[in-house]
């Protein structure tokens, strides 16, 4: 197992390097003179010059990449072009809301998706299975902004059961924090839950035909042992992959959900940054998200070692 972890973590290094190159290279994707483009239509010569100095555009890109990387490794992602505040502290400001939202959605989608898929797969072909299959098909098909808007309007505003907008930090009031995240997290979780349910169902159907499941039954094990232990652990391998993929997607979708529910997260800040051409902020966020996704994928690969002892490699 240790060898698997070491081997997998070693692979992370070149991937992370690639992420830094892409994040840094974003600046060079700006067509024409980046300084002119970034400064905008009505910028004065001085403003353009200031941006050029700030981004050190007169230096060759490799040397700029070098110093940017060495700063980034030490945690310095530069300053925002507009507010002048350091990118790192802005990301830190916005990150808790987004991480809370994504964390909640992941938990919700697993809590809904895994049991639903397990039941559907175990009782394949039953009325419940058909009901759940229709449900997950709809769940996968409905875009998140539709679910989000409907939930905000109906549950949040019309019924008034839960607050439809706003965010309260967990340190401020854990109760309000949880309450306000329910609707946005649920909206975000639905698609993921549907996909996890489908994958779990397929996995359970595949595994329950295996000889060892029949042996477990022949040995008189309880259904909770046959299904909950032997079937599920083997069925979880593809599910973990889906969950890992979800995390990357959730970061993307959270941009929309944060807009709908007015959550001051990274996504809404990123949108502003894109409109303002705030290159250092975009670079910093892309670098951070890229790193998170690379690490999540490594985590998923390592978790295979838990579910499938054969990949541990002794």
């Amino acid at each position: 197992m240790l060898r698997l972890v070491a081997r997998r973590l070693l692979k992370v290094i070149p991937l992370l390097l690639l992420v830094t190159v892409i994040a840094f290279g974003l600046l060079n994707l700006v067509p024409g003179d980046p300084a002119v483009q970034i400064a905008g239509e009505f910028a004065t010569e001085e403003q353009i010059e200031a941006i050029r100095t700030e981004l050190e555009l007169d230096r060759p890109w490799l040397s700029r990449y070098g110093s940017w990387l060495s700063d980034a490794v030490r945690g310095d992602l530069g300053d925002s072009l507009f507010s002048g505040v350091s990118v790192r502290s802005q990301i830190w400001d916005r990150l808790p809301a987004t991480v809370s939202l994504i964390g909640w959605s992941l938990v919700l989608s697993a809590l809904i998706g895994i049991p639903a898929g397990t039941v559907a797969g175990w009782r394949e072909g039953s009325a419940l299975d058909r009901f759940l299959t229709v449900g997950t098909t709809i769940g996968v098909a409905i875009p998140v902004f539709v679910t989000g808007l409907v939930l905000a309007l109906v549950v949040g505003i019309k019924l008034g059961w839960l607050p439809a907008t706003g965010y309260v930090g967990i340190t401020e009031s854990p109760w309000q924090w949880a309450r306000r995240l329910i609707l946005p997290a649920f909206a975000l979780a639905l698609t993921g839950a549907a996909e996890i349910a489908r994958q779990t169902r397929a996995g359970v159907i595949e595994v329950k035909k295996q000889d060892f499941v029949r042996v477990a039954r022949a040995n008189g094990l309880h259904t909770r042992q046959v299904l909950g232990k032997h079937t599920l652990k083997n069925a979880m391998i593809p599910v973990v992959t889906v969950v890992g993929l979800q995390i990357g997607r959730l970061f993307g979708l959270s941009v929309l959900v944060e807009q709908i529910f007015n959550i001051p997260g990274l996504g809404s800040r990123l949108i502003t940054a894109v409109f303002e051409n705030d290159v250092p902020f975009i670079q910093g966020t892309v670098l951070m998200l890229g790193t998170v996704i690379v690490l999540v994928n490594a985590g998923v690969d390592i978790s295979y070692g838990y579910f499938n002892p054969r990949v541990r490699g002794s």
Binding site: G125, Q210, D211, F212, R214, V215, A216, R217, A218, N219, G220, L221, H222, T223, Q225, K229, H230, K233, N234, F307, N308, P309, R310, S314
Partner: protein, 335 residues
């Protein structure tokens, strides 16, 4: 477990067992009115070609037929007089692994790859017996030792993929016998193994049977194995019993042409001569021939065989389903 076992009642009585599966031709019986008994500590060989319903019979005894595609349509399976087929799942689970255990044909895929073998043996032990974790572990290691796994302390923490097929079958035997059942159903337990390993596993089973005093129902197509290990043989064809008798009576003196044909195929019986496989195949249930179901493949058939489906006739020491059972003098083995 069950108190007050009636004296003289066989351990297991299968009566008129009929199992149906859904096919494109509707529900069709795969096991059709099968009856037999297994006495305490007796070893029964259930034989027949593939598709004769042997494995399905074995599965039905443990109540493992179910779901949307299979059902037990008729019959009783009495364990010490208690009908297992009327039991609910929770009651059946108390029987499985505890009173009747089963081992299967495919050791490579029959152990969960995601858990160590030790954990899986302990799971069965603690499922049926009131053992502490430590007691169960000790007993599991003893079992591994008993089934001939070398260095059981270390092997205890192995995953299935670290063991060979023969070793895995030993682990499965350890699991099945962990709670000392009264009956072991062994469904082609050595078919997937190397020839040398086959003999070892059979020897192991015979030793354990003697030690634990259990009965064994050995499902196999290998008559040589039956000759060596079994007391009595039940021959199945197309879902029916066609002959059953003590091994000592059946092998030298088969009364059913199907039994005789299988005996004639015993490898090594006529060295230097090519084997003579029985021509044709077991008929599928939706296309059964008229009269005797074996008649199209039978070299002793008469016109009557194609007209009347023979009954299973009880001759006292044996049962046989053949119109010509009295008149034929069929060659046997080992007289």
């Amino acid at each position: 477990m069950s108190e007050g076992r009636a004296v003289g009642v066989p351990l297991l009585q299968v009566e008129d067992l009929t199992v149906e599966f859904v096919t494109e031709h509707g529900w069709l019986p795969v096991v059709d009115g099968v009856s037999f008994e297994i006495g305490r500590q007796e070893t029964i060989g259930l034989i027949g070609e593939s598709g004769c319903g042997k494995s399905v019979t074995a599965m039905a005894i443990l109540g493992l037929i179910g779901g949307p595609s299979g059902r037990v349509a008729r019959g009783r399976v009495l364990l010490d007089g208690q009908d297992l087929l009327v039991l609910e799942e929770p009651e059946l689970r108390e029987v499985r692994g505890r009173r009747i255990a089963m081992i299967f044909q495919e050791p490579m895929t029959s152990i969960d790859p995601a858990f160590t073998i030790g954990k899986q043996i302990i799971e069965v032990l603690r499922r049926h017996l009131p053992l502490s974790r430590a007691q169960a572990k000790q007993r599991a290691i003893d079992l591994l030792d008993r089934v001939g796994i070398p260095d059981p302390h270390r092997r205890f923490d192995d995953y299935p993929h670290q063991l060979s097929g023969g070793m895995r079958q030993r682990v499965l035997i350890a699991m099945a016998l962990s709670c000392e059942p009264d009956l072991l159903i062994a469904d082609e337990p050595t078919t997937a193994l190397d020839v040398t390993v086959q003999a070892q596993v059979l020897e192991l089973l015979a030793g354990l049977q003697e030690e634990l005093g259990m009965a064994v129902l050995l499902v196999t197509h290998d008559l040589a194995v039956v000759a060596e290990t079994c007391d009595r043989t039940i021959v199945m064809y197309a879902g029916e019993v066609v002959e059953s008798a003590d091994v000592t009576a059946l092998f030298p003196d088969p009364r059913h042409p199907y039994t005789a044909a299988m005996l004639a195929n015993l490898p090594g019986l006529h060295p230097g001569e090519p084997l003579r496989p029985i021509p044709g195949i077991v008929p599928p249930r939706h296309a059964l021939p008229a009269g005797c179901w074996y008649s199209p493949r039978c070299e002793h058939r008469t016109d009557a065989c194609g007209a009347t489906h023979p009954q299973l006739v009880d001759l006292g020491t044996r049962r046989v389903r053949c119109l010509r059972a009295d008149e034929l003098d069929l060659p046997g083995v080992g007289r």
